[in-house]
């Protein structure tokens, strides 16, 4: 027997390609993992598989024409994309939107936020191996999608907002149905808690996994639930209120240490808060116009405007530079998922391959948003 018997047992690092076709990457993302057995040494995200060049498309479309394209950015939260784009153009045009339109915007946005969070909740549970919550989440989401479809005419790519207002008024029975949905949905969130949030296996899988300290989250430009999970109580709706969020009361859920469980809890609580907002909006909904006076051809004066909102995935912004023509000179989309994803390599170092999903799922990215 040789003296250094440890040398007989040689281990090697290896590369593992997760994606672009992988059930857990939620789209087409490639994660290149450098692994030592089950342990992760390094992770490099490789993105761009869904890059459609919207910023270039925008330069060749008129302001009105570009609106339907925004639906396809974060395709789970089309209303928010519409909203922020309209806000940016309205800022350029210096238009004030009538109050009813603002309330309708908030109403459909918050419904969409719940739908979007449900699509996060389901696949996150599925990443961790629980398949049933996924279908429960989609069952509830279906009702929201039906509601939004009855308003806008489409199930995902709404194109409902217009520069200066919204496309159509709410249908007649919408308010009744939205109220019924709120009543239906509230106990369901508690049910998710019983099914998943309190489950010992789930807690074991997510607690102290992927801890994102406050400073690191800010440094990486994280926003939305990822940032709030780390304990920063920052929400654009509260801190820089746009639309009518100033008149609505809601809380910002905040995590403590910034692990996967904190991010999970923040989103679950956000769904409850969204229901609260919807109920208030349904109470307060004023009458009146739904469109401001907007010129037939939108030609903003030269200048630049940056508008941002709190999308389900974080701080979502549109930066538009106008040169006075009917097309944007430059349009930059500040996608929350892009910055949120960049923190992933930092979070998974030293964890196990199963934990990648617990972390990745809790960050909740949409590839349409990352790649644009």
């Amino acid at each position: 027997m040789k003296e250094d018997s440890a040398q007989d047992f040689i281990t090697e690092e290896y590369l593992l390609n997760m994606g672009p076709q992988h059930p857990a990457t939620h789209g087409v993302l490639r994660l290149v993992l450098r692994m030592d057995g089950e342990n992760i040494l390094d992770l490099v995200p490789d993105l761009g598989y869904l890059h459609r060049g919207f910023e270039k498309i925008a330069e060749n479309r008129t302001y009105k024409q570009f609106l339907p394209f925004t639906d396809r950015l974060d395709y789970l939260a089309g209303m928010f994309n519409n909203h922020v784009y309209c806000l940016a153009v309205e800022k350029l045009l210096k238009i004030t939107v009538p109050p009813r339109a603002e309330y309708i915007r908030v109403l459909v946005s918050e419904l969409n936020r719940i739908a979007s969070h449900l699509v996060w909740f389901g696949p996150f549970a599925m990443d961790l191996g629980a398949i049933t919550p996924f279908l429960y989440a989609f069952r509830e989401r279906e009702m929201i999608i039906d509601l939004l479809e009855s308003v806008s005419g489409q199930r995902l790519t709404y194109s409902y907002f217009r520069i200066g207002g919204v496309a159509q008024d709410l249908p007649d029975d919408f308010i009744v149905q939205a109220k019924a949905f709120c009543e239906y949905f509230k106990p369901k969130v508690d049910e998710y808690d019983t099914l998943l949030s309190k489950n010992i296996i789930f807690i074991k899988r997510t607690k102290n996994i992927g801890v994102l300290p406050k400073e690191l989250a800010i440094d990486y430009g994280c926003s939305g639930p990822v940032l709030r999970g780390s304990g920063v109580a920052y929400d654009v709706r509260k801190n820089e209120p746009y639309s009518v969020y100033k008149d609505l009361s809601f809380d910002i859920p905040v995590g403590t240490i910034g692990d996967s469980l904190d991010r999970y809890n923040v989103r679950i609580e956000e769904m409850r808060q969204s229901v609260r907002i919807i109920e208030q909006v349904l109470e307060k909904l004023p009458g009146g116009e739904i469109m401001a006076a907007v010129p037939k051809v939108v030609k903003p004066a030269p200048g630049e405007a940056y508008a941002r909102i709190e999308a389900p995935r974080g701080d979502f912004g549109f930066f538009i530079v106008s040169d006075g023509s009917d097309k944007p000179y430059r349009l930059k989309i500040r996608a929350p998922s892009f910055s949120n994803l960049s923190v992933l390599p930092e979070l998974v170092k030293g964890l196990k391959i199963s934990d990648v999903l617990a972390v990745f799922g809790s960050i909740d990215i949409v590839l349409g948003d990352v790649d644009r």
């Binding site: 761009g48 890059h51 910023e55 430009g221 430059r330």
Partner: protein
């Protein structure tokens, strides 16, 4: 810290820098020379507390490339937009990735789509487009093989 104080502080430290207030918002435009960008950003981050790099982007002005750094301070909830410009083709600028880690990917994106080289960046390579892509598509005169000329109506 009010906006006026911030302007005073910046111009006290960097006399050549132009600052203007954006109406109606707690925001500032800061126009600077590209050589001073890292010092200015470090000052804004460390002394003024603008800890959140919202995004970094370029604008093709046909004669130059304008680079915008959108900075935000969680403490004072104010925005500073640092603007600088580089040459349109083969422009080079110091990277701020050491100051904000968020700048890492945003600079890669700017390099990818505009061709600005960020010196001192930890790994400057294409991010959204494939590695063997030729050209930088967000430049106004970009002609790729897949570019479709739109019909004239």
């Amino acid at each position: 810290m009010t906006t006026q104080e911030i302007i005073r502080k910046i111009s006290g430290r960097f006399p050549t820098v132009e600052t203007t207030i954006i109406d109606g918002e707690n925001a500032l435009n800061v126009l600077t020379d590209k050589d001073a960008i890292v010092q200015l950003c470090a000052f804004i981050k460390n002394e003024l507390g603008y800890d959140y790099l919202q995004f970094l982007t370029c604008i093709d002005r046909l004669d130059k490339l304008e680079i915008h750094y959108h900075l935000y301070a969680y403490a004072s909830q104010g925005t500073i937009i640092v603007k600088t410009s580089v040459e349109r083709v083969g422009g080079k600028i110091q990277s701020v990735a050491a100051l904000w880690k968020a700048a890492d990917w945003h600079e890669r994106e700017a390099y990818d789509l505009f061709g600005v080289v960020f010196e001192g960046h930890p790994g400057l390579r294409r991010i959204l487009l494939e590695e063997d892509f030729v050209g930088h598509p967000l430049l106004k005169d970009f002609k790729g093989k897949n570019v479709v000329v739109l019909p004239k109506i």
